[in-house]
């Protein structure tokens, strides 16, 4: 996927003025934020489960190679072929090779954010394969030629009218307006695609070291269809998704759907191990799993290592006041919201995503709701620190900070400077003592007035009090 994170500020400003988008984003608040709160409240030992979940993920990340090797061994014992890929391009090549090797042409895809990292659809289409997204949201985006704006609810930015228009244009059928009718139409359009596909591609919510299995959670059932009907199944996932045992996966499952959509469990949880059994009439004949690094291993041993605990629930973006107001597209790559503000700079280069670590009010809500206790604001602060260290901030900001730092280290100059500044601002504030416009800070005063200082600095007041 093309990286447009450098246009964050411009796109954020555009999106703030987009009334339709603002209406769509309001639903996120009521459904996801309130839904999560209710689902957490019904789990009596939530705190204990959350501690355990964070510990499981932390343990895996600390000994990642050991768990991956165990996984690989168990998967191979069941006839699953495990591939490793350094980059998204390598994933695309491996999938294209599998398709060529087995003579496959029709692909049905279940939702996978990792495949978005790779730009898999375009790569496969350029090889002459027919690719059909089957998650309703992803299917809508495929018709609209748009990237997802949320990792769990990919079309949160679209209204049902947008979708009605899109369907009536592409399906050559009368325009439907009800949500249930639209869903039925998509089901009927996609069903023949499932039945005729020869390659099913999915992601994985977890891979299980104990059994060499892939675990997939879905609500629509498209994940089950895409991994049951075609004769070859390829699952693509990040190397960090491994968990030790079925029990560990179960602990994480108590939190993933609750944090994501406010569900106690998703409609389907599928644990897939190996290929079609002897005598079995359904299931794939070949099962491939691709483990993608794409920058993940770089995080190990750094301050950003806790980010590898992430289970992709989306709670951080649902609760983020920045995301809630600008939506996901402004972030300019696959992962939006606070988790994206950490991951995007890591995956595409800090210099290509300068605004993202700063796209936060540091209210801390993302860390509060994270089911695996990732200290997201600390990680963003660390990236800000790196930006300064690597001289990536604009020269005006760098000069201003150096100047300030010099002044702050020279108390006499500081006192002189602040005395002059408060008097000037006090005078500019006029009788009402309000500043409507402040040179150099117009972004701040455009939407609000700034109260003018009273005319004396804190140090002057303090001095006056000590020597009456």
């Amino acid at each position: 996927m093309e990286v447009t994170a450098m246009h964050f500020k411009r796109k954020a400003a555009e999106n703030l003025g987009d009334e339709k988008l603002q209406q769509a984003l309001e639903k996120l608040q009521t459904k996801f934020v309130d839904g999560r709160a209710a689902a957490i409240a019904e789990l009596p030992n939530f705190g204990e489960v959350r501690d355990a979940a964070a510990e499981i993920r932390d343990k895996v990340v600390r000994h990642l190679d050991r768990y991956l090797l165990h996984f690989e061994q168990e998967a191979a014992a069941r006839g699953t072929v495990v591939h490793w890929a350094e980059t998204g391009d390598e994933v695309n090549r491996i999938v294209a090779d599998i398709a060529r090797q087995h003579g496959l042409h029709k692909v049905v895809k279940s939702k996978s954010m990792v495949s978005e990292e790779c730009g898999l659809n375009e790569a496969l289409e350029s090889q002459g394969l027919n690719v059909l997204e089957t998650d309703l949201g992803e299917y809508i985006l495929q018709l609209a030629h748009e990237p997802p704006s949320h990792i769990v609810a990919p079309v949160v930015h679209k209204s049902k009218e947008d979708i009605s228009d899109l369907f009536s244009r592409h399906h050559a059928s009368p325009r439907k307006t009800g949500i249930a009718e639209l869903c039925r139409e998509a089901r009927e359009v996609l069903r023949p695609g499932f039945l005729s596909a020869d390659l099913g591609i999915s992601g994985a919510n977890f891979i299980i070291a104990e059994t060499g299995s892939v675990l997939i959670v879905t609500n629509e059932g498209n994940g089950r269809l895409a991994t049951t009907l075609p004769r070859v199944h390829v699952a693509i996932t990040g190397i960090e998704k491994v968990v030790p045992t079925l029990e560990d996966a179960t602990t994480l499952l108590r939190l993933l759907p609750r944090s994501a959509t406010g569900q106690s469990i998703t409609n389907y949880v599928s644990v897939l191990t190996g290929t079609k059994e002897k005598g079995e009439s359904d299931g794939p004949e070949h099962f491939h799993i691709i483990l993608l690094d794409n920058g993940r291993s770089q995080l190990l041993g750094t301050e950003l290592q806790p980010m590898l605990r992430c289970i992709r629930c989306g709670a951080c973006m649902n609760h983020c006041p920045v995301y809630q107001n600008i939506g996901g597209h402004a972030y300019g790559w696959v992962y939006p919201g606070p988790m994206g503000s950490v991951l995007t700079p890591v995956f595409v280069g800090l210099e290509n995503a300068l605004d993202l670590p700063n796209a936060s009010t540091f209210c801390g809500e993302c860390a509060v709701v994270c089911p695996v206790k990732i200290p997201l604001p600390d990680l963003m602060r660390h990236l800000r620190h790196q930006q300064v260290q690597r001289h990536l901030r604009p020269w005006t900001e760098r000069v201003a900070l150096r100047l300030w730092s010099w002044v702050a280290r020279h108390p006499a100059v500081y006192a002189l400077f602040t005395r002059a500044a408060v008097r000037l601002l006090g005078w500019l504030g006029g009788e009402k003592k309000m500043l409507h416009h402040l040179p150099g800070a117009s972004g701040w005063t455009k939407g609000r007035d700034m109260p003018a200082p009273s005319g004396r600095t804190f140090r002057e007041l303090y001095q006056a009090r000590r020597s009456p």
């Binding site: 639903k27 459904k31 789990l43 030992n45 204990e48 489960v49 355990a52 979940a53 499981i56 343990k59 600390r62 000994h63 990642l64 190679d65 090797l69 165990h70 350094e86 309703l136 949201g137 809508i140 079309v155 949160v156 679209k158 049902k160 869903c183 039925r184 499932f194 070291a209 609500n219 629509e220 059932g221 498209n222 089950r224 269809l225 991994t227 190397i239 030790p244 045992t245 029990e247 179960t250 602990t251 499952l253 108590r254 106690s264 409609n267 389907y268 949880v269 644990v271 897939l272 191990t273 290929t275 079609k276 059994e277 079995e280 009439s281 359904d282 299931g283 483990l291 690094d293 041993g301």
Partner: protein, 209 residues
């Protein structure tokens, strides 16, 4: 060096000489995490949770009552009386109540699928289905109506208990373990929940015993 070696080398280097954990032993022990406290009556809890996730739930004293209950359900909703079922469920006298079931994997145009269940999970009201030659996975997936027959004795408190039961009774995992919690659904359009996405529109669970 290929991708596998490169990735493993980078991970190994970052890990450094940190004390090697007993990963294999820990996986063999498969220790449970914290379990939420549940009420004692698991059958009641299972039924309540299943209904809250939009499954329909009926009780039968014995398996002989099941075909009658299924016929009643299908007629009441004006649903077709033909479908597919798992082979083990074929001999229960479906014909006598006017239901025609074929024993095979489901196709795209089958409208009713009748399955058993390996277990029911009371914590969430979830069915646990295992794939296999005698239990084709498509029967619970392709038809618009899924009917699951669940022995009350097979209702366990949590998924952890179900894993243990699977380890004892089967040893290894089948190709697919499918946990099913009600009809398929989507909330992709305006975050509004709609039942019947790509899988069944309705799920009837008949608890026997």
């Amino acid at each position: 060096m290929n991708a596998r070696e490169n990735i493993l080398a980078r991970i190994g280097k970052a890990r450094g000489s940190s004390i090697a954990a007993d990963v294999d032993g820990e996986i063999r022990r498969h220790q449970r995490g914290p379990i939420p406290p549940l009420e004692d009556d698991l059958v009641k809890r299972f039924g309540e949770r299943a209904v809250s996730l939009a499954s329909d739930v009926a009780r039968a004293r014995t398996i002989t009552e099941v075909p009658g209950l299924v016929a009643h359900y299908l007629i009441e909703r004006q649903l077709p009386m033909q479908g597919v079922c798992w082979p083990a469920l074929a001999p229960y006298g479906w014909n006598s109540v006017g239901i025609e079931l074929q024993t095979r994997a489901a196709r795209g145009d089958d409208l009713v699928g009748v399955t058993g269940a390996f277990a029911g999970i009371a914590e969430t009201g979830t069915l646990m289905l295992l794939s296999g030659p005698e239990t084709p996975a498509t029967v619970s997936l392709l038809p618009e109506t899924h009917i699951a027959i669940l022995d009350a004795e097979r209702i366990v408190a949590t998924m952890e208990q179900a894993w243990d039961r699977l380890r004892v009774e089967r040893g290894a995992l089948p190709r697919a373990v499918n946990f099913v919690s009600g009809p398929s659904r989507t909330a992709d359009i305006e975050q509004t929940v709609t039942l019947g996405a790509h899988g069944p529109y309705r799920v009837l669970i008949i608890i026997v015993g």
